[in-house]
Symmetry: C2
Amino acid sequence: MTASREAILSASRKAIARRGVRGLRVNSIAADAGVSSGLLYYYFTDRAGLLRATFYYISERIDTRRSEYDAPGDSPRARLEHRIFEYRDDEELVEGTAALNELRASAIYDPELRAPLAETTADFIAQLRGEITEAQSGGEIEDHVDPQRAALAIGTFMEGLDGRWLSGQITSAAARELLSHVIAQLLGPRPSGGSGQTGQPVTSVAPVSDRNLITRYCLLSARSGVTAGSRG
Amino acid sequence: MTASREAILSASRKAIARRGVRGLRVNSIAADAGVSSGLLYYYFTDRAGLLRATFYYISERIDTRRSEYDAPGDSPRARLEHRIFEYRDDEELVEGTAALNELRASAIYDPELRAPLAETTADFIAQLRGEITEAQSGGEIEDHVDPQRAALAIGTFMEGLDGRWLSGQITSAAARELLSHVIAQLLGPRPSGGSGQTGQPVTSVAPVSDRNLITRYCLLSARSGVTAGSRG
């Protein structure tokens, strides 16, 4: 990807996360990215093309960002669990999660967004399903668990959790705790002596703090003009 | 509630479900409801007041609508399961679910919507928690299940499922099947000889058809000008 193309997609992600899809102005994105509107239209044809490309860009970036949380020696199940704990102090993850959440909500009203939504969602579910199957082969998840159904249930739950987390209804620590509980119910408990397991309990993956909540607040209240300090 | 007040709230729900919160024009709502803008402002003060009242109105109406699905002789657990299976051919439920989903997504950007969002969500979780506790007293859910955590997990999952269902990524039948699976994992299986149980399997609560998907499609594509017929 060229630097200017990436700058445009990054500016689009930030604008969607802060102001929503329906507040998106193509000319402002070009200005934010430091390129001409002509170049933006050359790359993406029109507003719909830019939104579609932003969908794929965010999904790929979140995948990459998540895999950076893999710990050395992670067993397949530990890797799966580390990757999906996206509720943490990582500005790019927060921004990407906010933008994806907004794109998902907009797809209900905008038929042009439905194909990229369906594709990126199916990709994520397929990835989860693969990770579940791998953990199953290693004996870390019992055979009676249906990988496709479990992946769909976890992915759907995470989408609901994203909305609660982004609107400040649940703290990062509580979101991680709830996700950990739901995973244990859907995949069964992690075997205590499983092969290659890291032993670190999932709920302590990231330090428990309210920084994440404040980060989201700063990110999302940019439009309302309220400062993080005034919140305490 | 006066008839004119209810007409305004009903028109607001329909407009949000069809065109989204950010496309909402107060004067159009008054016209749709057959009242003057003056009366609307008299009742709700401003746009934010109308949105807040719409939030509460929809939540109450969905609760009422859900309870109409109670079957005679339902045990507490059967009642709980019948009520939350909102993914069915019921125009008001579809419209209410669509409007709530849109209000939830908008609350991320609009601080004024966060208090009604938090209150209506907490009410729904408290109701679910109460129903779980009641089923526990009757021996239909095992004692080790934490009612508050289970209610929060089910509510969060349903919000994710709403988004998928409304954007046509999952059929009504598949949504019911997935919810049924998740409930069984979170609450444990229904006891086969439980007291007062209806014996009707949850997945057959409503006839399996694509009518619901088409209803949602018609409802939500009103803005895009596509007809349901063109979709097959």
